[in-house]
Symmetry: C2
Subunit: 202 residues, 2 copies
């Protein structure tokens, strides 16, 4: 079970779940309706209190749920979920049926769990999760489709993230995805450590 | 020579240079002074006209050059530049000398070229470059250290990016870097292609 490996991440280090630029799944729930979508345009915005920012186009249904509930989840999916990412990034919870919105979780058999803030919209099997409270910024939302959230809870799969660091070795099936375009993704690779160079003589 | 492989990227596809979440180097020049710094918090913001957003802390010298010149460059460095990235991310162009600012390019022997908009602050040897005009947003800059730029020119090394796609196979030395924390980076890996799942029966 995935839940067996899920561990809380201290908020001071939760930016590290997004720092390497993975493509994420944004999910939200409001008034008994919920949705999940793919987003390549998400990043940390601050350390303390931790904030993140994500672009949600005016056409997407998840945006309405975020605005309605004032909360959202950043799920960090793995290569094992490649087709799920492509699917929830290619289908709309509203376009398919104009009268009755599609629950993508049900439609594609996606299992969820309930977090500290958001009910039943955290996707099982991801590498990490950040639950966020929307910080309303009407100008950014209207002008740039840019949404800012304060992270209020975070978890990661301890097999690949612990003590503030990713360690994917031995768990290739849990590596993060990095979208380029049109269903083409790059998979994150291995770790390298940089060192500070000596200054040249003047 | 690196310049031999540098090719313009159509602006409609320049978001793909950042879409997979690489750590970048932000550079700027103003009134004969210039600087370069590392930034993990950068992402595309719009397709057309193409925009990007990047977080520049109030303490960094590059920020003053960006505000002064109204332009900046997003350089996408490679694993061959690992120690350069760590170095320009760990040193300040102002802290070292309070009286005379440090030219990190000179101090670390970094070669540059001149772009369409920014003089002498594009770092040779990167995988890609985006030149940007600052779109002033005082609230975002003051409240969130968030800077928005319109991309006005873009290039990439054709050995690893062409026809709108990254293709690192055979050029491991040009793979992009994705910072986690404290000098620990993940290197981007290989490509996978997602497919859309069938809906479960109701």
């Amino acid at each position: 079970m995935t839940a067996a490996h899920r561990r809380p991440v201290p908020l001071a280090k939760c930016y590290r779940l997004l720092n390497h630029g993975p493509t994420v799944l944004v999910s939200a729930a409001h008034n008994g309706r919920r949705n999940i979508m793919a987003a390549a345009w998400a990043m940390p915005l601050d350390f303390q209190p931790p904030k993140v920012t994500v672009v949600l186009d005016k056409s997407v249904w998840t945006r309405q749920l975020v605005e309605g509930s004032g909360t959202f989840v950043i799920n960090v999916p793995t290569i094992s979920q490649l087709d799920i990412v492509e699917t929830v990034g290619s289908t709309s919870g509203l376009e398919i049926s104009q009268e009755k919105d599609l629950d993508k979780f049900k439609a594609y058999g996606l299992r969820t769990f309930t977090g500290d803030v958001v009910d039943g919209a955290l996707l099982e099997g991801c590498a990490a999760w950040l639950e966020c409270r929307l910080m309303p910024e009407p100008h950014n939302q209207n002008q740039y489709d840019l949404f800012i959230g304060e992270v209020v809870a975070a978890w990661a799969d301890e097999r690949v993230f612990s003590d503030g660091h990713w360690h994917f070795e031995g768990h290739d099936e849990l590596r993060t995805l990095h979208h380029v375009a049109g269903g083409h993704f790059l998979v994150i690779g291995d770790e390298v450590v940089g060192k500070v160079l000596e200054r040249a003589e003047d």
